[in-house]
């Protein structure tokens, strides 16, 4: 086997098995950072040996054996230093009983989304621990400097070690809350990609979809996971239609539906139906249902606005989120007119979070123009232009502004 081919295998194994291997080793080390360290050493050994000695029949097993041996060395040294700490020996025994390689990526995700880990660190931690994405790439996606993202990750890993957060699937009774934190982290990773300045910033979107797909596979009875995956697929399916031929942002009612990925929409619909059948209606089911109604409206021509407003009513009741209220008001305009929508918006106009939120000002501006308040509408659209970092959205808003003068 050529050296290139062997290092290709190393790369493939790194991509496909990284999270599983880290998870497996973390059970042994009780420490994410050292699990990553010994795995990195094992990969380095693979890069040196496989091109010369050939790729082993079971690459994952080979890597685990090398990493375990390295860990045993470290442990022995540690034991000499600490005069034999009993719980480390116990741990080592416990892990050897586990035998072959179970899929522990899920347990790893639950550890990363533990309530004691700060919320802002959960999504980055999952991306790094399960997928091996570098701190630098995660920092770029989350608009943080690489140094502070690195610190955040190190802090979170130290926290996992110190508070002895277990790498296990939570018990039934604590499952909903823990799963929710995992889903929230995955959605944060997805929307970070989605709201990115340019196409290049959206590289975390496929990772988020992959993680959600993995959870659907491993916990098939959870409706909210399916709904989250559906929600992301609805958005993905329309990605290429978000810009028109001139590079200008196109909202859903003006998108060319020929550019939609209909296979992906089909997948999203099937997941949403399965979620609805499986259990109680949660936040992601409502959001996915709203996307489904938008799609049905464009594809079938039926008026779905009343249904969309009703779905937003439930979403607002469930989340009390100002963003949900904003979107509800935009939908209400299609049913009850712009003045009614503007009256709804006044409820969130004092919310500090809305003042720097581009979609709030864009919606406010468009509604005011529709209601005939030209000056006030132009002012709000101007603020929206000042807040956007996306050139396509800026162009779209400028068209609205020019049309109103």
């Amino acid at each position: 086997m050529s050296g290139d081919k062997a290092s290709g295998v190393v790369e493939r194994v790194a991509r496909e098995s990284y999270g599983r291997l880290v998870a497996l080793l973390a059970v042994r080390t009780r420490d994410l950072a050292s699990a990553e360290d010994i795995l990195a050493e094992a990969f380095a050994a693979a890069l040196a040996q496989w091109p010369v000695e050939g790729v082993p029949a079971n690459p994952d097993g080979w890597l685990i054996t090398v990493a375990k041996r390295r860990h045993a060395d470290l442990l022995r040294r540690e034991q000499v230093r600490m005069n034999g700490e009993p719980h480390l020996q116990m741990l080592a025994a416990e892990i050897d009983e586990a035998g072959e390689l179970p899929d522990r990526r899920l347990a790893l995700m639950f550890a990363c989304a533990h309530p004691r880990i700060e919320r802002a660190a959960r999504a980055p931690l999952i991306l790094q621990a399960v997928l091996g994405i570098t701190a630098r790439a995660i920092a770029a996606a989350f608009l943080v400097s690489p140094a502070s993202m690195g610190q955040r990750l190190v802090r979170a890993k130290a926290h996992i070690r110190e508070s002895a957060i277990s790498f296990s699937i939570p018990e039934r009774n604590e499952m909903p809350e823990r799963l929710n934190a995992v889903l929230e982290a995955i959605y944060a990773a997805y929307s970070t990609g989605w709201d990115g300045v340019d196409e290049g910033a959206s590289e975390l979107a496929p990772e988020a979809i992959w993680l959600a797909g993995l959870i659907v596979e491993l916990l098939p009875a959870e409706p909210e996971t399916k709904a989250l995956l559906a929600l992301m697929l609805y958005a993905e399916a329309r990605r290429h239609a978000r810009r028109d031929r001139n590079g200008c942002y196109a909202p859903i009612d003006r998108q060319d539906i020929a550019l939609w990925d209909h296979a992906q929409i089909g997948k999203a619909e099937a997941l949403l139906h399965a979620a609805n059948r499986d259990g109680p209606t949660g936040r992601y089911q409502l959001e996915a249902a709203i996307q489904s109604a938008h799609v049905a409206q464009r594809l079938g021509g039926a008026d779905c606005w009343p249904a969309i407003v009703a779905l937003y009513d439930h979403l607002v009741a469930a989340t009390n989120s100002p963003v949900a209220m904003l979107n509800r008001a935009a939908a209400l305009a299609e049913v009850a007119g712009p003045e009614a929508a503007l009256a709804e918006l006044s409820a969130i106009s004092a919310d500090q979070r809305m003042l720097g939120y581009q979609p709030y000002w864009a919606t406010l501006g468009h509604l005011r123009l529709r209601a005939g308040h030209i000056e006030a509408g132009r002012e709000a659209l101007t603020v929206a232009i000042g807040l956007t970092t996306d050139a396509a959205v800026r162009q779209h808003l400028r068209l609205g502004l020019d049309a109103a003068s």
Partner: protein, 112 residues
């Protein structure tokens, strides 16, 4: 925390900037004020600067830019941000980020 955003412009890149730059700037300032920030000031080109220092009781006055760099201080604006991420997001919105660099600097609280 309050941040000062220092705008460093590459004059050459700026001279090729889009016509819409100043309209974008007006929009940015409007957004900044609405969100509770402080619209900044724009400086005359660094070529017209005067540098003053006193050494051993003797004043030296030198004309021209302070530093011989491609990008020069061209203005500033200030914001009050809850997190460093929010400050970075404002820097990213500044039209000058497309033609130069925005240096984000937290302001020291001297009252403590």
């Amino acid at each position: 925390m309050k941040y000062m955003m220092l705008i460093h412009h590459d004059d050459e890149a700026l001279s090729k900037a889009d016509q819409s730059l100043w309209a974008d700037y007006a929009a940015f300032n409007e957004a900044l004020v609405k969100a509770g920030g402080f619209a900044g000031e724009r400086l005359h080109p660094a070529a017209g600067a005067t540098n003053v220092r006193v050494r051993g009781g003797k004043a030296e006055v030198i004309d021209g830019p302070y530093a011989d760099t491609k990008e020069k201080l061209a203005g500033y604006f200030m914001i009050d941000a809850a997190t460093p991420e929010e400050a970075v997001a404002w820097a990213q919105r500044c039209p000058s980020a497309r033609y130069g660099t925005i240096e984000v600097r937290p302001i020291m609280d001297m009252r403590r």
